[in-house]
């Protein structure tokens, strides 16, 4: 069982300040955490990891300040969120030059930094010195500029912030494609031409593979094959491309490539008002939109400092746990489907999912894009009919389904033959790669945000954190089944104790101003830790809005997990990680 570690006290700050004089200072108000001198970042991070146990680099993001704030000059800031495996967040800020931003890379220390630093380079244009492979990750190289910079404007740019003044009171409709004509909405980097572009050239990822391919037998490189799996492959559950180097059928190297669904969610988020981001979060992990809503609501409520009524908290927990159940059921179902022999399991799972979606539709108004949470409560009360359905599901129908699923798969030799000892992830590696959710817990690390940093009212429920022992695909399945049972336990307690009362603190407000500050709200989403890092400048729109997407970061360990396995195991490992491309690509 995980112990709750208190927030980093002034003791830790003092210790760091003493050990690294001048290099570590408390961040100026209203920021949290410490400001670290750029040139000593690696030193401080090494000390934090090795001496103080902050082994878990959860989130890296960057913020653009084109104008000086807090008495500081124009700059970029890179923000790190570090944890001990038992909790205890620590926020580090590193400043980078506005003209030529460069920050030392932490990827050699924390493998989880690899993808996230590439994302920061791609979207914000911050160079990470010493990064082994600093390429664009979500966009292609024919893309001009770095979209998250405040001075970058999209082709259909209208205004910096919504609501646009062209809509009211003189709102004559003007479709975006008439304002910027097709073919004129493209912009290439200077000196770059699509005609000279060779996707097979060294920038596009083949080079590192060629190096691998030539290592063993330089005279006969043909005995290794480079294979593209995807982007349209049924087992990738979306558009994910896996670049695989094979020797025979054994995987030498595997690299996930994505961004096909990229829509620069974070830029949209900065244009939107605070409330208008809520329906956009539904589209992140479109399987579990309720969890996304909850994460965003919790992050903004941290800044707003509102008290959520008790009934709303219970409804939130009920919805979040139904979402977890639904996600795990579908995930296990699709694992069976990917194995090629258990289509039945998937259909059974989808059937149960239908009932849960019916409940969402009845309560929130939509099956998948729920848009249900509001700051300070939920949008609508649960009707008696909905509570009745929820009770029927949580007490009768879903427990029966879990039993059936277990009878179907758990001891099944065929299922075990394909999953046991496939994709083994040792606990140290899981932490180093920043894995969260069932992927991390199956490796035996009892880390669950619901316990490590209880949010909402999770501290009032009895439940166990399910952990595995081997960390293979089979254990991940077992952990998911265990979590489904724990979810039902929480649901039964919540439904039995569901209090009456209002579901919204105060009146619903269409436009709200959020006090200036920064907040990092995180929840245990079904796929892992979902974090929303938001910065407010006191206005009606977020200044910065970053999402720590669990699928994105869990996918970072994919290459490591697949090495040495057969090509047929890739689909099982991918299914056992459980990703949603809407969240990976954002």
């Amino acid at each position: 069982m995980t112990e709750v570690t208190p927030e980093p006290t002034n003791g830790l700050m003092a210790e760091l300040q003493e050990r690294f004089p001048g290099a570590a200072q408390p961040a100026p108000e209203p920021q949290e955490g410490l400001t670290i001198a750029r040139d000593r970042l690696v030193e401080v991070a090494t000390y934090l990891r090795d001496e103080l146990g902050y082994a878990y680099l959860s989130n890296i993001t960057s913020v653009d300040y084109p104008e000086g704030t807090n008495g500081l000059p124009p700059r970029f800031e890179v923000v790190y969120h570090l944890y001990q495996p038992t909790g205890g967040p620590l926020v580090l800020h590193v400043h980078a030059d506005r003209e030529d931003p460069a920050v030392p890379s932490l990827a050699p220390l924390f493998p989880s930094a690899n993808f996230q630093e590439r994302e920061a380079w791609d979207l914000m244009g911050i160079r990470f010195e010493g990064h082994p492979d600093l390429r664009r990750i979500l966009l292609w190289e024919g893309f001009d500029g770095h979209p998250l910079r405040k001075d970058w404007h999209e082709p259909y740019y209208e205004e910096d912030h919504k609501p646009f003044s062209s809509r009211f009171p003189e709102g004559r409709p003007m479709p975006a494609e008439e304002r910027t004509l097709l073919r004129r909405n493209l912009r290439y980097p200077p000196g770059w031409s699509p005609r000279d572009w060779r996707p097979m050239a060294d920038t596009w990822g083949y080079t590192p593979h060629d190096e691998v391919a030539h290592q063993k037998n330089p005279t006969h490189p043909a005995d290794r094959v480079v294979l593209n799996m995807g982007p349209h492959h049924p087992s990738t559950h979306g558009v994910l491309r896996l670049l695989v180097t094979l020797e025979g059928e054994t995987i030498q190297k595997l690299e996930p490539m994505f961004g096909f669904l990229h829509r620069c969610h974070e830029k949209i988020g900065e244009r939107n008002t605070w409330l208008a981001n809520m329906p956009y979060t539904d589209r992140l992990d479109y399987v579990c939109s309720m969890s996304n809503n909850l994460g965003y609501a919790i992050a903004v409520e941290k800044l707003l400092d509102v008290e959520v009524p008790e009934r709303a908290e219970y409804i939130r927990v009920i919805m979040a746990e139904f979402t977890r159940f639904l996600n795990h059921a579908v995930s296990i179902g699709f694992t069976g489907n990917d194995l090629g022999i258990y289509f039945t399991a998937m259909l059974y799972a989808l059937e149960e999912r239908e009932f849960i979606l019916d409940l969402f539709e009845m309560t929130a108004g939509s099956r998948m894009m729920c848009n249900y949470m509001r700051f300070g409560g939920v949008a609508h009360d649960m009707t008696d009919e909905a509570v009745e359905l929820a009770r029927e599901l949580a007490f009768e129908r879903l427990p029966r389904f879990v039993d059936k699923l277990e009878a179907f798969l758990t001891d099944n030799e065929l299922f075990r033959a394909r999953t046991v000892d496939v994709g083994v992830l040792p606990p140290e590696q899981a932490i180093a790669y920043g894995c969260t959710g069932p992927l991390l817990r199956a490796s035996g690390v009892p880390y669950d945000v619901r316990r490590a940093e209880p949010y909402s009212i999770y501290d009032q429920f009895d439940f166990d954190v399910v952990v595995g022992t081997n960390g293979d695909a089979y254990d991940r399945y077992l952990v998911r089944v265990g979590e489904m049972r724990q979810s039902l336990r929480i649901l039964q307690q919540a439904l039995n104790r569901l209090p009456g009362g209002p579901v919204m603190a105060g009146k619903k407000k269409a436009t709200l101003k959020v006090p200036a500050g920064e907040a990092y709200g995180r929840i245990e989403a079904p796929k892992g830790e979902m974090g929303f890092y938001i910065i407010s400048d006191g206005g009606p729109n977020p200044y910065r809005y970053h999402i720590r997407a669990p699928s994105f970061i869990n996918l970072g360990v994919m290459g490591e997990l697949c090495r040495g396995h057969l090509i047929a195991d890739v689909v099982i490992i991918l299914a056992s990680i459980d990703i949603t491309l809407g969240e990976v690509d954002r």
Partner: protein, 197 residues
């Protein structure tokens, strides 16, 4: 590869399910013949979590009822008697709309040019609308509501999904019919105000 006890057990799960479907059919057949199997009473049980076995809804021919809170696409409400839209062109919906798909032109007095409390033009680009329901949720006059029409696919792209006021207007009685609870609440809220005035 090899099959054994547990694989057979898994087959058993499927077989039981298969049999249950027919047992269920038979049960409803015994209650009153073929016709009874598809009556609303039977469907209410067979499609609920209490149902056992497989039960398929043959979609275009059969439809499940949509719950009252279902969010389709927005429509404007007009009064059955006067035929005037309830909208006062306050612009709240256009401001709160996340994808900014609502365009409103506020009417002005033809002589004085003062803004009036009614829209001159009201457009919603349904192809951009993300069905979030904020417009209906935050409308202070209950003049815009989320409808239940979902089959609006078209073959054309240009303008067919840009709905104008004429296309968006629905009578209040239609709103009362598809959202009975919501309508009752609104009426209850409105009545005391009238008395005061």
């Amino acid at each position: 590869m090899y099959a054994s006890l547990y694989v057979l057990k898994a087959f058993g799960v499927t077989l039981r399910r298969f049999v249950e479907s027919y047992v269920d059919d038979l049960k409803w057949f015994l209650k009153g013949g073929f016709g009874k199997r598809y009556t609303p009473d039977a469907l209410a049980v067979r499609q609920s979590p209490k149902g056992r076995g497989i039960f398929t809804v043959q979609y275009p021919a059969e439809r499940l009822p949509l719950p009252e809170r279902f969010r389709g696409f927005p429509f404007l409400v007009y009064d059955d008697e006067t035929g005037k839209p309830l909208c006062t062109a306050c612009g709240t919906c256009a401001r709160v709309c996340p994808p900014q798909c609502i365009w409103i032109v506020r009417a002005s007095h033809p002589e004085t040019g003062k803004p009036l409390r009614e829209p001159a033009e009201f457009h919603i680009d349904i192809s951009i609308c993300m069905n979030c329901g904020f417009c209906a949720e935050f409308c202070p006059f209950d003049a815009i509501k989320m409808g239940q029409e979902i089959e609006i696919a078209t073959f054309e792209r240009d303008g067919t999904l840009l709905w104008n006021q004429e296309k968006l207007l629905r009578p209040l009685s239609y709103h009362a019919q598809i959202h009975p609870t919501d309508y009752a609440q609104e009426q209850a809220k409105r009545k005391p105000k009238k008395k005061k005035a």
